[in-house]
């Protein structure tokens, strides 16, 4: 029996400890905000925060997060009004929207670490998150907006 803490809540898991965190979140405890895009950490759709650091849930096992705090999009902000979320809405970033949760979690982690990133720093930090619709120009501008006050 493994105990993990997701969005401040204790959860237990008695299955395969090597199960990728992504599938534990989505299939076992129903937190479907975190998305599956590639399964190999190429695309960032499954980005969550572990102790305030952005990680890819598809290559992180449940066992890896024992004793650490996992934050998913559902726990990012109580009313969904984190500055990054607000900036995303203000800039009309999404098209299909599927990758945006991962983008938002990555951006939130970036701003925690570096509250005033330059455009180059934004592009570098966000380069692990793929958007096939091509919302990059707006993503860059939204992260910038979030960093300067929404």
């Amino acid at each position: 029996m493994i105990k993990v803490k997701i969005n401040g809540q204790e959860q237990t898991w008695d299955g395969d400890p090597d199960l990728p965190l992504l599938w534990y979140l989505r299939d076992e405890i129903g937190l479907t905000g975190t998305k599956f895009g590639c399964g190999q950490a190429f695309c960032g759709a499954c980005t969550v925060m572990v102790d305030k650091e952005a990680v890819r849930a598809c290559i992180t096992s449940v066992n890896d997060v024992v004793g650490r705090e996992v934050t998913t999009i559902e726990g990012l902000h109580p009313t969904g009004d984190h500055p990054v979320q607000k900036a995303w809405r203000q800039m009309n970033v999404p098209q299909c929207g599927f990758c945006q949760v991962g983008q938002i979690m990555q951006a939130a982690a970036l701003l925690t670490e570096n509250p005033k990133p330059t455009h180059d720093q934004i592009r570098t930090a966000m380069s692990g998150n793929i958007c096939r619709c091509g919302c990059y120009q707006r993503i860059e501008n939204a992260v910038h907006l979030a960093s300067t006050g929404v």
Binding site: A45, I73, E74, Q95, F98, R132
Partner: protein, 771 residues
């Protein structure tokens, strides 16, 4: 040989072959069941709406009935049905917004409800071909106007005043003479009893009074849900008792299962069953490929289980498909005469007598769609009833195919449409939903099928692979007097009919036979090419290779004659005119009547001139940079793009600026047009830089974003500017979702030539600039 006659943008051939009958029968049935006012096709007799579209010819046509699309609750909440699928274009917002505009609903009090798959009730639901706004602008306005007229009639009756004295405005009806007003909610019950007005009697709003249309001030309805993780995509559907399935499919198209051993897989924690999935012989349309399914308590266990299954496959007839050898075959075919599909003048003779002939042979490989959400579906089959939840572009087609596959009546199938995490044409094919249906039927519990990214890349309905060979003959003054274009590519029709070797009219009509240049001698040919994998629609379809070849050739001619690219482009387009294509048999015009949507070179010239002006064409750029331009008409819209690129050390590309002008006629939401154009620049750059799926021994050699790369934010264009041509009062709406893509790659390639003098004729660019 198998040339399909006028299949339109086909979802299934059989569907279109019987479409006339199906539509008529269905509409009669619709009348019988609902007693509602159902219309087969929009009536456009009023001068202000003097255009027809191909909407009525789509399977099940158009339904104009406010009682199908609009509901008003006593609290005033207006529910408007979105019957097309949302994959990122904004259509789930735009179409209901049109209804709200016409009925004078306050958008903040509108709730959008997604329609399930039911084309008898809602009309055609195929969300593809960039046609949602084009086909539904007028029907949605009519639906809104009907609802408004019914509300006004109810209010007039209530007050005992002539209906001409009342007016719906911002969610209430007002009688200004007496100062009375009443909210939509309070009128809902009475309005529902009013007869639905005839379409001919409807008075549409004067566009000057529009509050929403054309403004771009309304965000997409799912914006908040997307940012908080509540937006529900196909994979987010969870049902009690649901099992998770991952499937191993034959690695070669047309291959089949010989045997499997699931012993090791069954030992993996969470795996519950290993079983065969039925496959269909190739070409199998949208039917499943078959294989071995691993059923588990979660997706992770199913994936791990699948890796452990030992499988023996029979590779079948396509086991030797090899992209290197196939390219050589296509090139050889392109150098010999092929089926003539357009002929004006005598191109052969003119090429022989030309002072100079410029030859360009362009190669474009297969592309995979790789929408961010890999294919996935949930099915719950119980007895002779099936319920599906899936991200499908064709809810009606999915319903038909599920019914056929399970052998149950279509009425017993419910298809719930989730949001689509990208589509790009992949999700027009519902094989993944059929897999879920088959497994649920056999297991007797709800089943979710999840494709991994590797499944998606290796078992896609790929964009075709093509060689486009153009020969341009110039006279001694440098004027182009002859044009011969041979296009060789396996057809999408091959996915439906064995033995297909020629492209269908709908493919020939995408940039080959509709080439708009004013040249005296033109010949377009389509030599034979057989398919060895599943070919399908990919955003913009055949326009991608055609625009690439034609617009590259324009710049090649400009270079050979020492002219400016933009000037050469305008010279070839020639005078402002309606192009006469009477020489083309079975001309396909994106399913639209040519009278409403002709090829108007005046509009094509205008986007070129507009982008040249706004994008400051001809500006001087620093050393190592270049400007390129390209223009193309597709999905009956006109687009021109300028790219400024820098080619750095080891061929490193930096796209500093993209400028695009689009003329898409009357439009609904310019903000979403802008986002589509921004997106097509990114997708265009992805395809140009990296896009290539290759085969060896019949197997796809790529599998994930590591070896099938797409553009990331750090290599995206720094800025994309979009200029929208203001529509004339009667300009019909045209496409937006796809037209931005085709001109991007040639504009980029022409810019690279301007920067380096290197002409790239093989896509993708890959390492060609490194040397």
């Amino acid at each position: 040989m198998n040339i399909i006659a006028n299949p339109g943008k086909l979802r299934g051939f059989e569907r279109h072959i019987k479409v006339e009958n199906v539509s008529r029968r269905s509409i009669l049935k619709g009348l019988g069941i609902t007693g509602a006012f159902v219309l087969a096709a929009p009536v456009m007799s009023r001068p202000a709406l003097a255009y027809e579209t191909g909407a009525g010819k789509m399977p099940h046509g158009v339904v104009v009935d406010p009682r199908v699309f609009v509901a008003i609750a006593p609290d005033g909440t207006v529910t408007i049905v979105a019957h097309r699928s949302e994959m990122g274009t904004g259509v789930r917002t735009s179409l209901p917004l049109i209804v709200a505009e016409e009925m004078e609903a306050d958008w903040s009090r509108v709730h959008v409800q997604q329609a399930h798959g039911d084309e008898v009730k809602f009309g055609n639901q195929d969300t593809d071909g960039s046609r949602s706004t084009r086909h539904y602008l007028i029907p949605m306005r009519q639906i809104g106007a009907s609802a408004r007229a019914m509300l006004e009639a109810a209010a007039a009756k209530k007050w005992g005043v002539p209906v001409t004295e009342v007016k719906a405005t911002n969610h209430e009806v007002v009688h200004s003479a007496s100062g009375r007003h009443i909210g939509f909610g309070d009128l809902a019950a009475d309005a529902a009893k009013e007869p639905v007005p005839s379409v001919g009697s409807l008075k549409l709003k004067d566009p000057k009074e529009f509050r929403y249309l054309g403004k771009g001030e309304v965000g997409i309805v799912d914006l908040r849900d997307i940012t908080v993780g509540k937006a529900r995509y196909g994979a987010d559907v969870r049902l009690p008792g649901m099992k998770y399935a991952v499937i191993a499919r034959p690695p070669v198209t047309g291959g089949k299962l010989v045997s499997f051993d699931g012993t090791a897989a069954m030992k993996i924690s969470g795996v519950e069953k290993v079983m065969e999935v039925k496959g269909w012989p190739w070409p199998s349309k949208f039917q499943p490929l078959g294989g071995v399914a691993v059923i588990a308590r979660n997706t992770g266990a199913a994936i791990k289980g699948r890796d452990a299954v030992k499988i023996v496959w029979d590779d079948g007839a396509n086991a030797k498909y090899d992209s290197v050898a196939y390219r050589a075959e296509l090139e050889e075919a392109s150098r010999k005469p092929g089926l003539v599909v357009r002929k004006e003048g005598d191109a052969d003779a003119a090429l022989k007598s030309a002072d100079k002939v410029i030859v360009g042979e362009y190669y474009l490989p297969h592309f995979a769609h790789v929408s961010m959400e890999p294919p996935t579906a949930v099915a719950d089959v119980k007895g002779d009833k099936a319920e599906i939840w899936a991200p499908v572009q064709s809810p009606g087609g999915t319903r038909e195919d599920v019914a056929k596959t399970l052998g149950i009546p279509e009425e017993n199938v419910t298809v719930n449409v989730t949001l689509l995490g990208g589509g790009f044409g992949r999700k027009s094919k519902c094989d993944f939903a059929l897999e879920a249906a088959l497994l649920s039927k056999e297991l007797g519990v709800p089943v979710k099928v999840q494709w991994t990214r590797e499944d998606d890349v290796r078992h896609d309905f790929l964009h075709t692979v093509s060689v486009e060979r153009i020969e341009a003959g110039l006279d001694k003054n440098g004027k182009v007097i002859a044009w011969r274009h041979r296009s060789v590519a396996p057809s999408i029709a091959s996915t439906f009919a064995a033995g297909t070797v020629h492209q269908a009219p709908f493919e020939l009509g995408m940039g080959l036979v509709d080439m708009p240049f004013e040249i005296a001698n033109i010949q377009c040919e389509n030599p034979e090419a057989a398919a060895h994998t599943r070919i399908g629609w990919f955003r913009s379809v055949s326009n991608i290779p055609r625009a690439f070849a034609v617009q590259s050739m324009v710049a090649e001619i400009a270079h050979a004659t020492n002219k400016d690219q933009k000037d050469m482009l305008l010279e070839l387009i020639g005078s402002a005119r309606i192009v006469n294509l009477s020489s083309v048999k079975d001309l396909w015009n994106y399913g639209e009547p040519y009278d409403s949507y002709p090829i108007d070179t005046g509009r094509l010239r205008r986007v070129v001139e507009l982008v040249a002006e706004k994008g400051n064409w001809g500006r001087s750029v620093p050393k190592g940079r270049g400007l390129g331009i390209a223009a193309h008409r597709s999905f009956v819209s006109y687009i021109a793009t300028i790219v400024e690129v820098e080619v750095g050390e080891k061929g490193k590309l930096t796209v500093h600026q993209v400028d695009t002008a689009i003329d898409c006629g009357t439009y609904v939401n310019p903000e979403r047009i802008q986002s589509q154009i921004e997106g097509t620049a990114i997708m265009g750059l992805s395809l140009a830089k990296y896009g290539e799926i290759t085969f060896k021994n019949g197997r796809v050699q790529q599998g994930n974003f590591g070896d099938y790369q797409v553009i990331r934010i750090d290599e995206a264009p720094v800025v994309t500017n979009v200029y929208i041509v203001p529509p004339g009062p009667d300009t019909p709406p045209s496409g937006v979702g796809e037209p931005g893509l085709p001109p991007f790659a040639p504009a980029l390639i022409n810019a690279i030539f301007a920067a380096t003098g290197k002409r790239i004729r093989t896509m993708p660019i890959g390492k060609q600039l490194e040397a």
